[in-house]
Symmetry: D2
Subunit: 346 residues, 4 copies
């Protein structure tokens, strides 16, 4: 068999299970390990939707991934942080068997729907064991909806916990979602932007809540584009993780971060706008800013500065004919400065 | 010939032209008229990009649309509102020849790129002659970028002019756009949401600015999904306008508005949340709100109300077993109340 | 769990197994049963390729099918008809558990690759238990290749056994296949045509032999279209079986037969050309043929008759303004005549 | 304008026109010339279908091609070889203006539908100016249908004129075509195979005749795959011609020939089976054949020889550990032998 299904009870009392769907490596498959996805069904933390479980795993299995379905604490056991603890336990369990199962531990994506999207996004923003990508489908992300999922219990909203360690995210939802307002998805993009995190996002004009993979047997009326998120998310993971080939994973096409604004130290890969607040500590930056502002004024008038501000600082070295050596020196200089600032200015 | 190309000079002094690409109707084509698109190339109001002109029109022509390319005022003639006036003039010109050309005047979409996206979005939010849909590709929408396109000139930002008459919008951009920050696209969704306007949006993880249709001869590295926006936007127009078939246009699958919150009077199609502020004028609403709040509390705790608030009010009639007659009566009652309120609460 | 994997030993001595991948019905899935596919890996009857086994099942599982992988007799146990007997046994086994597993027994497709395609095509043309569709991927179909797979053993070629009971077929292969010549696929279409059997066929310009699902980790260089066969075959099954929806299977869009030329009796759905040889037994046909020939001559000259010959005879009734009643009478008349003729004239 | 439409009268008496749709090069388009397609509408040589004319050109324009629509001699002027002469004249006209229009003259594809497919295939098999690829959509290819299109006139069938100079072909049709039997497409593949010509072919299960590009406004019921032929044919041309990029055309992924069996001299790229008939003239071949036959017998029994026969002879050098030098010597030896043989043995 080239697929082994194993059901692991993680917590008998809370009825938490991890269904492992492990594919072969070696032999006719010429690579030695595979990336993996962990699927988290929705159900408002009241139940676990069968429509967002194994059926979600198949396309990722087809694309070469190992797949796990995490059936986390719901109903009477729902109280936060039980579900997040379930995720941490599942992650640790997978890590413990990674060698046996041939899992690439730094290429693990979580996929969550609705309340399962709340859990996946919590894993991405608050867990000790962060996944390497999060696929968030009509996910509950803001405080209102997070609280609505767990009435009477204090529960954090992933929206408020995005940080510099948050992995790249893929989001999809319907514009007419009547259960989780579309602002959950839209505002989350802004939070990711604050930390320069790479993302992909698709908002379909109709399809409401709960469309799962968009297969016709799971749904009523959907926009024709709604089912595309599945293949798109696989292509997104390929961009981010590389593509599984006969020779193993290729080099990724895309970095998980747009810039270094959320790193622990400064860097030439911070944006111009971000570095502006550090001229006190690094006065060598000033001539660059003056030059770029002058150029911006000439090209764009008053708005010039803001156009330049989102460039990564290292781009200026090329524009201004500076040498690779000067760039290296500046990088060393900046890497020595701790990146401590007011979050609002990121 | 089944395609006639005609180049119309709209303003000789400002070098404004409209290239009409008009397709046959009748004869072997069994329908009598066609919808249309108006393409507005980008170029920062300094020039007009050839890469965002006729090449954009082909897929819409293939889908059965008439296509126009508007070469509006740029360079020395760029000063606002020249470009918007060019649009108004183009629209009036098309209307004047609509019968001859067999154009369906209430199924016209504008398609704009970058600064052309600023113009298309201005047409959608500020023009006298609003189009029926706007396709905004890496469009300049906020004040900073709008001003950067026209240094020294006062120019409005479409972001600040979305209103209840804004048509449904389709937006696409790259998350790593270094010229027009992705917040232009993301924040515009929020503005559309305030007025309940239908939209579709795709943000690709990389591809920067200026990818046009995503064809390989126009670009360097793009995400594999980037070129999908073209077919997706055609499908969006089909959802919105109906599909051109041998028998003419089909019934649309999708309404341009999510609710009636931005109509001139109240309606049962306003959302629950929106109608809450009118209980003074329509006390008959109160029992419905009480009932839905009680239900929400029971299901979702404190957050219950906010979950219900985005439902269209008419949905409650079904939930609470009310008759079609009661719904009609309430609609008459509400339609008599002018929809005057504080915009911030929409 | 919504997927149950079970490995059934069908023949311990010959190491024949059936891996069942059974999905849930009822509950959140609102339908009561599912169609199924049986996958037959290739390997020249010497071994069973892991690259054409479970990995093939995933897309059909995603589309709502139950999936089975049949590991039939190979190597020392390969001698024909062992593999075909394995299929018959697998089919009987599935039928015995169809109620328990909720399998729609008249919506079962076989999917075979290379030598597995020989077996799948043998099931479709020679088995007692015919499947309802056959998906034949770079399948070994003619006598030369069939014999090459089983040196020294007498083995029939599916090419020579197509008959009126053969189900609709889907075929895909590479034009540059160096192992199984493309004529295996091309000539099989002619055999299907003789019996009026519905088919779909895709031949890709390069990709050689053994591309399986076309996933990059299974292959080297392929044409960009090669991986499309998987989704295309699912759409073909939808056309033929109907589509699985929340309410069960829809009505098929497509008939498994083009005409009734291979039925046991004559019918108005036989083609004009086929019925011409029965004017002795049914002289009432003659006036129709005279009228259509006259029309053909006028429109197409000498070749007129051959153009009309492939029309189903019932089409003439509409063309010649005959009533539905006359059509019914003719159908009764023809259904009484046994369809006995020289095969070469079908 | 980046598109110039020009209508050229090629033959006033016969009402023959060439509509040129010429796109810009240079400037913002960084390449210097473009490949081209020539579209030939169908209509049984009685008329020219508007549904298979400019509407077909758009997707190729979008892909970067120049496009021409040839309105050839029909109706009273239909008599063969008028239409083929029109093609030759059109080709010569394009060549005369190739420099002005920036056409890559060795990357020209013809696209023909039905009777236009007869003309396109005639151009590919019988013209003095052969195109570099032929896209044949529900094309009339055999003698019966060719004659049916031109009653009373002697007209050749492309089926009977495939030769070693025939370019690579892309074919698409419906299995249930009631006007041009599917055998026209299927049997043409066999003719291409005789000369080792590269092809791609898609046969859809339903859609009848005349589906053009498959757009909904041109059709009734089609299989969901039918419209795919357009994008597939563009990808096929990319494989064959290379892809248009900002830097010009890339290297093709695919050769127009599978082997050299139809070249003017022998070559190591002839197939083993083909070279077998030349052992009299080139006895050095004999040891290779003996070795491969022995191997074939061992692996495949009686059928062994036929399996090896389709390999290109040069592949054996690698299999048998021969040096690149030996391969070169054999190539020189074979290139000196004229390829004269009985066509039936190709």
């Amino acid at each position: 068999m080239t697929l082994k299904q194993e059901i692991i009870t993680l917590n008998e009392e809370r009825n938490v299970t991890l269904t492992a769907m492990i594919q072969s490596v070696e032999g006719e498959f010429s690579f030695k390990e595979r990336p993996a996805v962990i699927v988290m069904p929705g159900g408002g933390y009241s139940f676990l939707s069968d429509r967002e479980a194994e059926v979600v795993a198949y396309p990722y299995l087809a694309a070469g991934y190992h797949a796990f379905v995490l059936r986390y604490s719901v109903g009477e056991h729902r109280a936060w942080p039980n579900p997040l603890n379930d995720y941490e336990q599942a992650y640790a369990y997978i890590r413990a068997r990674a060698e046996e199962w041939h899992v690439i531990m730094d290429k693990i994506a979580v996929i969550g729907f609705s309340a399962g999207g709340h859990l996946a996004a919590s894993a991405a923003t608050m867990a000790e064991n962060r996944p390497n990508a999060a696929i968030l489908i009509y996910a509950a992300l803001d405080q209102h909806i997070s609280s609505a999922c767990q009435p009477g219990i204090e529960i954090p909203a992933p929206m408020d916990h995005v940080d510099g360690k948050t992995p790249a995210c893929f989001l999809a939802a319907s514009r007419d979602d009547m259960v989780v307002p579309i602002s959950n998805t839209v505002h989350f993009l802004d939070e990711l932007d604050k930390y320069g995190i790479t993302y992909e996002c698709h908002i379909y004009p109709f399809g409401n809540h709960g469309f799962s993979t968009g297969e016709s047997y799971l749904n009523g009326e959907l926009s024709s584009r709604t089912p595309h998120w599945v293949a798109d998310s696989i292509a997104f993971l390929e961009d981010l993780f590389g593509k599984l080939t006969a020779e193993g994973m290729t080099t990724p096409a895309c970095s998980p971060k747009q810039n270094a604004n959320a790193d622990e130290t400064l860097s030439v890969k911070c944006t111009v706008g971000y570095l502006r607040q550090f001229t006190g500590k690094v006065p060598e930056l000033i001539p660059y800013f003056e030059q770029v502002d002058e150029l911006g004024d000439r090209l764009f008038g008053d708005a010039g500065a803001s156009v330049a501000d989102q460039l990564c600082f290292n781009v200026l070295f090329g524009m201004f004919g500076k040498s690779e050596e000067e760039l290296q020196q500046m990088e060393e200089r900046l890497r020595a400065i701790p990146n401590i600032t007011d979050d609002a200015k990121r």
